[in-house]
């Protein structure tokens, strides 16, 4: 090592200039991360392949401004210099820097970081009077030359820069190192990569625009960060995340403060930021700093319903009581992401832009302001949805500047809309790459996959001893959980077993598949398709615990006392199983009910054998049900909640058109399976928490904030019920009591409100929370995790690895791979939580999309299916919020339109629009006009007409219009809750028959369709997805947990 010194001039905390001398050590050996290295560099981790035509060394300016282009996976052999990385860190902030770091860490990208400033021969000290940019360029160039020499001239090095002087200065200096501009580079080496060219043009145009900004100020300048930090510490300013109101995006935004940043208890509430000027260029999601306005200028939130188009309408609306109001003085952290925008049609373009290249594009998310894009393709992009990024928002411009990245397609087309939903929720699901698929084991007719003998030796073999079976939805291909139950010791003991697919056996930690699964975190279910977390060979075949084949599993086996059902022994470990029966819910229920049914696995057997086997199976099922009832009762005593979501199933025909929206019915067997899974999750959580007290992944559900319950309590009061929200037990009990015999919907709606008040269940690392916070409120369990669905949840895979390590430790073996530390695990859990939330949102949006498609095809005036019964669940100033049980739709109904007319009810209950006034009370709302007064009370049933409100730039939405204040006549017959259970079963069977008929039809249509099926609906009937909507509604659960026993969620917080 050689020591040199670096002299820096820094600003001291008091603003004075200080001369700081820092040491700088350079060394001869710095790893080059190239496969061609001749000098035995210590290259661990990612290595650039040796078979490329050249390596690219981007200059500082290129990395800072054009990082997005370097993110293309097609570009290979990129060497980032340390100089460039530090420049990004300094000039672009932490977010951009982290992006670069992730890029470097990602094994899918072919790029490395070279610490050029610590290399003896590539380091060049800054000369006196040399500008920073020149020095940086010189550093990068010298790094490029070093690479060329280090690799003994075997690889050409291309340095790309935007500095024309550098091109002139360096290009002829040494052979083998070429200095070219980005544009030349792209056009010489990547002619075919049009996306990169377009992106380049779009970014450079945006940069040019930035230089030619006007000077008139539209906004006040942000304060420098030192002042902001000092202000936050002294309590003058408040820090928080900007949350724009979806319905009044231009006016209202709330600052959600973090508890740590504000010490004043009276400011524990959120702060309102009203109007664009006060918001001062902050965009939804940014971390901002606000200063409060004087109390006289405080104002309240607008509580009346606003229609989408009526954004500008303000003024005489009634306000709630004033709340702290402030204005943004600075932004700590931008949270810009990729936005989907729609280019306006031609005529609108011309009217509002000074030169025709600049276009104000309207984001799909109404909370985001319009974005100014400079492009020459304005004509071509009319009415298209385009992905854009915001580059900057100067105080001189009314709107932010951005550049376009990618065109999605024409607005309104299904494919475009689905892509939009994915991008708006940061879901990135490219097809699995070659390299990832190469890691997979093969199972083809020519080369069938077999159980490995070494695995047979190391696993507990349950094939001969246990009767293992699975219960899943009909047509399920990825079976990740199976059950077994048997008696031991002549009936004194029961042995209950839950066997989960051993995914981690096939996916080693750190493999490409593992990394891809981690970045996806979950399988995404949309209304008409799904995106798998793992490649199909695993999810639908080798990991799937199909009937009649040998599979690897992770098992939990409990020995229970046959009478008291106390656990006497638990065994965890890897096993080898063969599932005997692949049942579906309806079949299992039929077996339990002792109905005559045909089990397909038994069909070829002789009648006597069949009866014996059937009896065995039925007995096992009954035993299971018995145990599950007991477990459920145990949890109920602890205070487990039963909550209600909107459960509707969209029935799709072969072309994936929705033919009907059908509510789903629950069966007891769902509950049984769910209970066993909860039990397994619980015990695994206990095990891993005990073995790894600081680094186990658990799932908790924090108790809800009491103030969120106010709507529930108030609404219940309107019907004379009291709801006690002091604990989960009290809440569960009082919800059970709040039943209106006349109207079963009341209870459902109350449960729905309770659900909305809940906080979200989250994964966490045990090292990051204190022991009291492990509690799962909804399930009333002190430890909980996710273990039972590793095929579609990454969290389960982590838990599997933890459990394996724990079992190994018990055997005295040390784990092969070091476990993630608390900090790493906490980061992973954050990531998974975010992805789960995104998955839920995407799912909900896709459901809404399909709902709109369903109603779009129908004429609201004539089609009877557009008229439905609705119940009022909340009152607003100018209307009510209603719930349509038939379709699971919630939405506003206006009682006053913009012309000042109100709804009046005629003699026969028909509604008309007349001039009048609306008056709101706490439990009802009444409209007055010349012909009389009509009142709408909470929980009233009314009839609404559903129509689609088309929107060009945003998603279509459903519009509800009141047509009568009487319940819709056919409504009662569709109430599933008023029917008996046996009827329910019949109903389900009938539906199942219909479904199978459909399946037959589908099969007869030939291979084209089945390919589609394979592509989009790999393992189950498409209809199920919509059901998952309710999971999102519950907001506590995640998609995966509920898929296999999706109906149980109405009963349990199975999450």
């Amino acid at each position: 090592m050689i020591k040199t010194e670096r002299i820096l001039h820094l600003k001291s905390c008091r603003g004075r200039k200080v001369r700081v001398v820092r040491e700088h050590y350079v060394r001869e050996r710095v790893p080059c991360f190239s496969a061609l290295c001749q000098a035995d560099c210590d290259n661990d981790g990612k290595v650039l392949p040796g078979d490329l035509t050249h390596y690219v060394v981007p200059d500082v300016g290129v990395v800072v401004d054009y990082l997005e282009i370097l993110e293309f996976r097609e570009l290979q052999g990129i060497v980032f210099t340390q100089t460039a990385c530090q420049a990004v860190q300094h000039s672009k902030g932490r977010r951009q820097y982290n992006r670069l770091r992730n890029l470097l860490k990602d094994p899918r990208h072919d790029c490395v970081l070279f610490a050029n400033e610590f290399q003896e021969y590539s380091y060049c000290p800054r000369e006196k009077g040399e500008s920073q940019e020149k020095w940086q360029t010189r550093c990068v160039y010298s790094a490029a030359v070093w690479y060329h020499n280090h690799l003994a001239g075997m690889m050409d090095i291309v340095m790309i820069t935007e500095d024309q002087d550098a091109v002139a200065q360096f290009s002829s200096l040494s052979s083998g190192v070429y200095v070219v501009s980005v544009q030349d580079y792209l056009s010489n080496f990547w002619m075919e990569l049009h996306a990169a060219h377009e992106l380049y043009n779009s970014i450079s145009q945006a940069l040019e625009e930035k230089e030619s900004e006007g000077t008139e100020k539209e906004y006040t300048e942000h304060l420098p960060s030192e002042i902001l930090e000092a202000g936050i510490k002294s309590g003058r300013y408040i820090q928080g995340v900007l949350n724009v109101n979806k319905h009044r995006a231009q006016q209202e935004a709330l600052i959600t403060t973090q508890a740590s940043s504000n010490k004043n208890t009276d400011l524990s509430r959120d702060v309102l930021v009203y109007g664009g000027k006060n918001r001062n260029r902050a965009v939804h999601g940014d971390v901002v700093v606000v200063e409060l306005l004087p109390k006289s200028e405080w104002r309240g939130k607008v509580t009346s319903l606003t229609e989408r188009q009526g954004d500008e309408k303000t003024g005489e609306d009634e306000k709630s009581k004033p709340m702290p109001t402030g204005y943004v003085v600075g932004i700590l952290q931008r949270n810009w992401r990729d936005y989907v925008v729609t280019f306006p049609p031609r005529e609108a373009t011309q009217s509002q832009s000074r030169n025709s290249q600049r276009i104000l594009a309207i984001p799909w998310d109404p909370r985001i302001p319009k974005i100014r894009i400079s492009t020459q393709q304005a004509d071509a992009l009319q009415d298209h949805r385009v992905v854009v990024r915001i580059d900057s928002w100067e105080s001189t411009s009314l709107y932010p500047n951005g550049h376009s990245v990618r065109v999605l397609g024409r607005a309104g087309e299904l494919e475009t809309e689905i892509q939009t939903i994915l991008i708006e929720n940061f879901i990135h699901v490219p097809p699995f790459s070659e390299a990832q698929l190469k890691e997979m084991p093969v199972n083809s007719p020519e080369k069938p996959w077999k159980v490995h003998p070494s695995q047979v030796a190391s696993r507990r073999d349950l094939r001969g001893t246990h009767l293992v079976f699975s219960i899943d939805p009909r047509g399920c291909e990825d079976v990740d959980d199976t059950l077994s139950v048997r008696t031991l010791d002549g009936g004194k003991l029961l042995e209950l077993g839950v066997h989960i697919a051993d995914v981690t056996h096939f996916v080693p930690e750190g493999s490409l598949t593992d990394l891809e699964a981690r970045s996806r975190a979950t399988t995404y279910y949309l209304a008409d398709r799904r995106y798998d977390m793992l490649p199909a060979v695993l999810s639908a075949d080798l990991c799937s615990l199909l009937g009649g084949v040998d599979r690897y599993a992770m098992s939990v086996l409990w020995e229970l006392d046959a009478h008291t059902l106390e656990v006497t022994k638990v065994w965890y470990g890897r096993t080898l199983i063969r599932s005997s029966y692949q049942l579906h819910y309806e079949l299992a229920q039929a077996l339990l009910n002792r109905e005559d049914t045909e089990v397909p696995e038994l069909a070829p057997l002789s009648p006597e054998e069949k009866d014996a086997k059937l009896a065995e199976l039925t007995q096992a099922l009954e035993m299971l049900t018995h145990v599950a009832r007991h477990l459920r009762a145990q949890r109920d005593r602890g205070g487990a909640l039963e909550l209600e979501g909107v459960e509707v199933r969209a029935q799709l025909d072969a072309e994936k058109n929705i033919t009907a929206l059908v509510p789903r019915q629950p069966l007891e067997v769902h509950e049984t399976v769910a209970e066993c899974m909860i039990y397994a999750n619980h015990w695994v959580a206990r095990k891993i928490q005990k073995t790894f007290p600081h680094q186990a992944l658990l799932r908790h559900h924090p108790p809800p904030r009491q103030e969120f319950f106010s709507q529930l309590v108030d609404s219940a009061k309107a019907r004379g019920f009291t709801i006690n929200t002091s604990s989960n037990k009290a809440l569960a009990d009082s919800l059970d009591r709040a039943v209106d015999p006349e109207d079963p919907l009341v209870n459902r709606m109350l449960r729905m409100m309770a659900t909305q008040a809940m906080s979200q269940a989250l994964y966490f690392s045990t090292g990051a929370q204190s022991q009291e916070q492990y509690y799962h409120y909804g399930l009333a369990l002190d430890h909980y995790t996710h273990f039972t669905s590793p095929i579609r949840r990454y969290a389960d895979m982590i838990v599997h690895r933890l459990l394996t390590a724990a079992v190994d430790l018990d055997k005295g073996l040390s784990p092969a791979v070091a476990l993630a530390t608390n900090k790493e695990l906490e980061e992973t859990t954050q990531h998974i939580n975010n992805k789960n939330r995104a998955a839920q949102r995407a799912q909900k949006l896709s459901i809404e999309l399909f709902q709109c498609l369903y109603f779009k095809e129908r004429d609201p005036q004539t089609d009877p299916s557009c008229v439905a019964d609705a119940a009022i669940y909340a009152i607003r100033d100018n209307g009510v919020l209603v719930f349509v049980p038939q379709y699971g739709v919630k939405g506003p109904v206006y009682l006053k339109n913009r012309d000042g007319e109100v709804v009046t009810v005629g003699q026969d209950g028909r509604c008309e629009w007349k001039t009048g006034s609306v008056k709101r009370y706490s439990e009802h709302i009444s409209t007055t006009c010349s012909s009389g007064t009509s009142t709408f009370t909470l929980f009233d049933h009314i009839t609404v007409r559903i129509s689609v409100q088309p929107s060009r730039c945003h998603a279509d939405s459903l519009n509800l219009e009141i047509i009568s204040n009487k319940p819709h006549k056919s409504a009662e017959s569709q109430q599933p809750h008023s029917q008996g259970r046996s009827q329910l079963v019949q109903e389900v069977v009938r539906q199942a028959e219909e479904a199978s008929q459909q399946a037959q039809e589908r099969a007869s249509r030939g291979p084209r369709l089945s390919k589609e099926e394979r592509e989009f609906c790999q393992s189950k009937t498409p209809n199920l997805y919509s059901l998952l909507e309710e999971i999102r509604e519950l907001a506590l659960m995640d998609v995966g947990a509920c898929r296999d026993c999706f109906m149980n969620i109405m009963y349990t917080f199975y999450s």
Binding site: M1, K3, E5, S12, R16, V18, R19, V20, V21, R22, E23, H24, Y25, V26, R27, P31, Q82, Q89, R94, R101, L104, K105, L113, A115, E117, F118, T821, K823
Partner: protein, 245 residues
């Protein structure tokens, strides 16, 4: 400011060292003829001068005299030009007093004071340039000065600071690292026996990490001791050449 990345993903620190690497140590003994012992030591950009007087009779208040061993009197000060902004008060402030006390404790553990009953040994250390790790540089410089004075010690006393960043211990922190919010630990070691003369830490650290941190500090101290040993041998060689002639 959390903006500084103290340890890069590739394992480099701000100044290009790896986690366990020390700064460059350079030292000279016998820089002043007037004093009984003296030494100058540079550890990276932290530079210190140590001077030893004694053992001699007690001066000042005789009441402090110990009948069975020598009293060690330490004084630590920083030059006004030692930091980036000129220091107002070179010595006597609370920090210096505390540092003096720490030095005193360290050397009481190392010097064989029982050989000099009723006498006094003065150790004066001045920081000429400060760039982190002041305490350890002082201890190392003072060790050399004490050796130069010919006062018997049990062993070299070697000191080093270590910090804890991203679950990795960093040896020999520089100023930028020290001020970057790292929980750091200073350790003075008698390397041959592995005895700890002083251990000081003001920051919060999880108990689980303490052991790794101390281990790293010990390794670093042993590295320092090798350098000091070399300096002493070099010095002896020079001196013996001179005296022979």
């Amino acid at each position: 400011m959390a903006g500084l990345e103290l340890l890069s993903d590739q394992g480099y620190r701000l100044d290009g060292r790896k986690a366990t690497e020390l700064r460059k140590v350079q030292a000279r003994m016998g820089v002043f003829a007037q004093a009984d012992g003296s030494a100058y030591l540079e550890q990276g950009n932290t530079k210190a001068l140590a001077v030893v007087y004694g053992p001699h009779e007690m001066r000042g208040s005789r009441s402090r005299t110990l009948h069975d061993r020598a009293v060690i009197n330490c004084q630590y000060s920083m030059a006004t030009f030692s930091t980036a902004e000129r220091k107002r008060r070179p010595h006597g402030d609370r920090k210096s007093t505390e540092m003096s006390l720490h030095l005193k404790q360290t050397f009481e553990a190392a010097v064989m004071t029982q050989l000099y009953p009723r006498s006094q040994i003065d150790i004066y250390v001045k920081i000429l340039q400060s760039d982190g790790g002041n305490y350890s540089v002082c201890v190392n410089a003072a060790t050399l000065a004490v050796i130069d004075a010919g006062i018997p010690m049990r062993d070299y006393v070697c000191a080093c600071t270590v910090g804890f960043v991203d679950e990795t211990p960093l040896a020999d922190l520089c100023y930028a690292e020290e001020s970057g919010g790292v929980s750091s630990l200073a350790l003075a070691l008698l390397p041959r026996g592995g005895q700890i003369a002083l251990l000081q830490m003001d920051a919060r650290l999880h108990q689980d990490h303490l052991e790794t941190l101390i281990d790293a500090a010990m390794t670093a101290c042993k590295g320092v001791s090798k350098v000091l040993d070399e300096v002493v041998r070099q010095h002896l060689q020079e001196v013996s050449v001179l005296t022979r002639e």
